[in-house]
Symmetry: C2
Amino acid sequence: MHTIKEIAEMANVSRSTVSRALNNSGYVSEEARKRIEEVVEKTGYVPSEHAKSLRTKKTKVIGVIVPTIHTETSGKIVAGIDKELAKHGYQILLAATNLDQQKELEYLDLLQVRQVDGIILLGTNTEPQLAEKLNTLPIPAVMIGQELEGVPSIVNDDEGAAMEITSYLISRGHTRIGFIGVDETDRAVGYMRKQGYLKAMEKHHLPVASEWMEEAVFDIDSGHDAMERMMQQGRQPSAVFAVTDRLAIGAKSFLKKAGFIVPADIAVAGIGASEIGQYSDPPLTTVDYQNEHAGAHAAKQILLQTNDTEQPCEKIMLNYRLISRDSV
Amino acid sequence: MHTIKEIAEMANVSRSTVSRALNNSGYVSEEARKRIEEVVEKTGYVPSEHAKSLRTKKTKVIGVIVPTIHTETSGKIVAGIDKELAKHGYQILLAATNLDQQKELEYLDLLQVRQVDGIILLGTNTEPQLAEKLNTLPIPAVMIGQELEGVPSIVNDDEGAAMEITSYLISRGHTRIGFIGVDETDRAVGYMRKQGYLKAMEKHHLPVASEWMEEAVFDIDSGHDAMERMMQQGRQPSAVFAVTDRLAIGAKSFLKKAGFIVPADIAVAGIGASEIGQYSDPPLTTVDYQNEHAGAHAAKQILLQTNDTEQPCEKIMLNYRLISRDSV
DNA sequence: CTGAAAGCGCTTACAG
DNA sequence: CTGAAAGCGCTTACAG
């Protein structure tokens, strides 16, 4: 690895001049520039980002904190972030919490230490501790998927989507509609989607039986088990809305095993527009949140903020669209 | 953000002593250490990684180059890498090529500039240019999924797996077996898996018709189209082996649309043990490569090499297992 | 148009 | 056990 000093010596100029030439800042004579370019070309010299960062306090790296990295949703969001960031020469420093909320806070520190220029967080909760930390961060942060006081965020219309999908089930003649949700500390997925379900039911004056409401965690098996519990009750629903596609897939897999036909016996719907839902049997009715867009938006936001620190704290709510397929 | 100088002043010691205390290197009296710890605690001081890196030439960051980040395979491998790395306080700097081979080379440079301690590459090809670059890299590199001269690598037994799955189809009574592959510049997926197929057919003295061999690219739609082409020929196969699950899913989706019953009319098998295959209809027979393990192995390898530069260039071939499900 | 010098925030021999 | 000093590789006023 060469250093700027070596390049300067080889080109017979000072380090200052090399720096100016490379950064296009300040005057450099044509001849000097040419000599420098030749040397750079010949040596393959690239300046050390660390030294640069130390001086300029900029790293062109954005920290991204995700709950899990091998799920489709995270994957698409990160892909969206990456594509947008790459356009501007930024890179992603990735941190996965594996759904451990404590780690969310730890990584916030860790990423700061690495002097990232900004942080994008795929939120799983809205704990006040997190909000506080995010608000006192010396660098810009953007939250995806959850709304948090004082933090710019890209959110989905979770309540609206849940209402729409529940209403869709109702419009297809269903009145006994089950619900598979998750813990409400996840405000977007746990609370808002449940609200949407409840509001739709209420609007149509339909009863909501407690034995039709199950709580699960974020995986397929958990959806399977929730469906199993629901069907063991006396009164069985004729349709079920699960707050994620993976939960819905799990529910369907239980129903299939237990001999129920989807959608003839029971209709199933989810949220997420995952491929696994698209190619499962029968294809899953769901809502598309356009996760790549969410990622791209977040990247744009963070880039805006790094360049102009006093950006207003924007909240963006993304569109969704219902995808009706054969599971309903 | 505080600096070591401020901490030193507040604790009434020199910067050297603060550094020694924080890194547990060299002697520090109990009293000094206590004072320093108190100040650090109070201020929430964390040393700048950039300054550290500039001195020590270590960053505790590993660059990971992937073809795409939103696919299940990449996701699982990266998850495996991340988990192992996190144990040792390392982080991932992510770069996605979106299947552009040129970018693979560019990112190799970019990551070096960022002074990562090592690079893990999910390989898609074995171009000599890539091998050469990897071999002259001043930092350790590990390749996953492809074998490359002189580069430590974690590979799957692609030929073995393809042979086994083809033999499995044969053992179920199939003799007319189609093949959906990808370009052979991807040596592992394109060439080795095709070899496995051909060898199994040859071993059982079965004919391989050219109209049973299709080439696709890495997505579901492409598998669909390849299957469509194959079925438009005069002689139709009774089974088809696609080199990835996604291709197999695409093939199945065409067959379904065209009115064929899987597996009664045509059996379908893939490789990858993806969830989408598991929950598709009927569930896909496939081979599990245990991608998380591959990632973890790669991380261990790279960690070994960063600490001990003269590690021998190891090649590891991972186990696979056949998962037989209803698509065959 | 150019270069000497200071400084970013650390670590590490070295002298005491 | 501790501190002064040099140095990692850059950038940026400043003086010329």
